[in-house]
Amino acid sequence: MNHELQIVTGKGGVGRSAVTAAIALAAARSGRRVLAAAMTDASGLAVHFGLDRLDYLPVPVQPNLHAMAIDRGRALDEYLRLQIGLGKRVPLLPLSRNLEALSQTVPGIRDVVTTGKLYHEVRSGNWDLVIADGPPTGQIMSYLRASRVIASLVRTGRAREQADKMTELLAAPGSSLIMVTLAEELPVTETLEALAELEGEGLIRLGGVFANRTVRPLGVSEAALNAVQDEAVRASGLLHRGLYEGQKRWRRELPNHVALPLLFGEHIPADVAEQLSTQVVS
């Protein structure tokens, strides 16, 4: 009964894919059956599982954990067959080619097809948790609104029914949006703007906020640092202190959040995800 959907968003460059992978790894370790899905072409999810690429068919990554990428063409075919309910005899190619072209113009078609695949996976019963590496913060609201926009443009028919089902799924208690940010001005501002929009519309519940790449306090005063003769010690201390102070200021603006650490010298995506996975569960 407990089929959950989490969509992860964040400004480009804040580590959205790393946090998605970390949550998926942690959930799978706790014994839940997890599907991690890349929602956009630009997703870095694959490398965070130590894979070169992901396919439309979910592949096993670890015990309890599968991963996939939502290929828009395949998702469109599946949407038409399974969700709109077109029979096997209807030739799909010309139809989906036209729809793909059309999706550049009609608001929401692209988004509704991608979220439609998520809907299908959540309802399949194969997973306790479907977690999606979602679009950047700047686009998330248009994704979340897509089914309502479609409903406003298409007043009847199967596409309309399907859109309504998706609006329902997003608003369900098991669905939530996870926001990833850095403790810096621009990503925090964007996060707060998205949170304000989210609050006003009731499209989906907020599942949590992560401040990524934070540093811990140095514990040495600025005056004491400036008195240090050793150039490397002083400069690295001042850099760390300055970063911490800046982050502290921006973290104060954020609502209740989980701070994830800056991993010094550790940048191999799979290792980053593994290390963060021990920290995301609070």
Binding site: G13, P107, V154, A159, A232, G246, H267
Partner: protein, 341 residues
């Protein structure tokens, strides 16, 4: 002739800050300089003298040769429609729900709108130098390919698909009898949506001639623009930087690569007589990061033989002209743009 500097790179690498710094360095030499910026942090906007956050240039209160303006994709799309389509058609376009969708969803659209604004500023004769902070989608490649993508869009790729190649009049837009796929689609989508889309695309075609003409001059500006590609040492920005270097159009200039947030190599393996264990541990943490950066750099240099400039890691977003200049001066010097006669 107005010189152009295009600053490209992934989101979050410090592109906007360095574009501003390049503008400051140029303006301090007495060049009449315009910085076109996308999404500046508040303090950076203040340092630049941006008051209105609009696409109308603001002068800098401390440096009279420096001006700044915002590139606003939404506003620019409206400007494009009004510029290239007859007034009554432009009204219909701007009012359409699909217009908003195109402005937000077509990835090359924002980049093209920015490119049109850039070329207007380049051609108006007011500036010795225009520095452009490119929109962040796809690490700046979109900006270079936007004119061609835009021609493809309004040239009716979608339209031709829907009509099977023939470009009909408004009334006979969809010949449903001969297009079973379209008939089916109309059934699926319902509610006359296809006819609405068709009408919209038909209107959009009015902008084609204007955009086709404009994009030629934009392409010419891009070919002679100086390129700065900003990255950090993080894996994802580096992947985008690789992509920019490999996929950039062949007729554009060789980019200068800027590694932002670089740490001193001297920290790697440094020993110290300082006894405070917190400071010793802190140095070793940062030394590990510096060592990672050294490895990344070695592997970059194996792949690409391009000029590189390092910019040191700043704890804080620079908020005054002096700091901006110090940061970006090495890039400006490396660009070696001939002095204004």
């Amino acid at each position: 002739m107005t010189d152009i500097v295009l600053v490209a790179g992934a989101g979050g690498v410090g592109k906007t800050t360095l574009a501003a710094g390049i503008g400051v360095a140029a303006a301090l030499e007495g060049r009449r300089t315009l910085v076109l910026t996308v999404d500046p942090a508040r303090r950076l906007a203040t340092a630049l003298g941006l008051k209105k956050l609009s696409n109308i240039a603001d002068p800098n209160p401390d440096l009279e040769t420096l001006w700044a303006a915002m590139l606003d994709a939404g506003a620019s799309w409206e400007a494009i429609a009004r510029r290239h389509a007859p007034p009554e058609v432009a009204e219909r376009l701007v009012a359409s729900p699909f217009f908003d969708a195109i402005a937000r969803q077509f990835p090359a659209g924002a980049a093209y709108a920015a490119a049109e604004e850039m070329s207007e500023q380049v051609e108006n004769g007011a500036w010795d130098l225009v520095v452009v902070d490119t929109p962040p989608s796809s690490g700046g490649i979109d900006f270079l390919t936007a004119p061609a993508q835009m021609r493809a869009l309004v040239g009716g790729r979608v339209l031709r698909m829907l009509t099977g190649g023939r470009l009909p009049g408004r009334k006979t837009f969809f010949d449903r009898a001969t297009k079973p796929a379209l008939r089916l689609m109309d059934g699926v989508l319902g509610g006359g949506l296809l006819q609405d889309v068709g009408d919209f695309l038909f209107d959009l075609r009015h902008t084609y001639d204007g955009i086709a003409l404009r994009s030629k001059s934009i392409a010419a500006h891009m070919e002679r623009a100086h390129m700065v590609l900003v990255t950090t040492n993080d894996p994802l920005p580096l992947i985008e930087a690789d992509r920019f270097v490999v996929e950039r159009p062949g007729d554009t200039r060789t980019p200068i690569i800027v590694f932002n947030r670089t740490l001193p190599e001297a920290w790697i393996g440094a020993t110290t007589t300082v006894s405070n264990p917190r400071l010793v541990e802190n140095l070793s943490r940062w030394a590990a990061e510096a060592a990672y950066q050294r490895d990344v750099r070695a592997s970059w240099e194996e792949r690409h033989n391009l000029p590189v400039v390092d910019v040191p890691w700043q704890a804080d977003t620079p908020n005054d002209i002096g700091v901006l200049k110090t940061l970006a001066d090495p890039i400006w010097v490396r660009l070696a743009i001939a002095p204004v006669p």
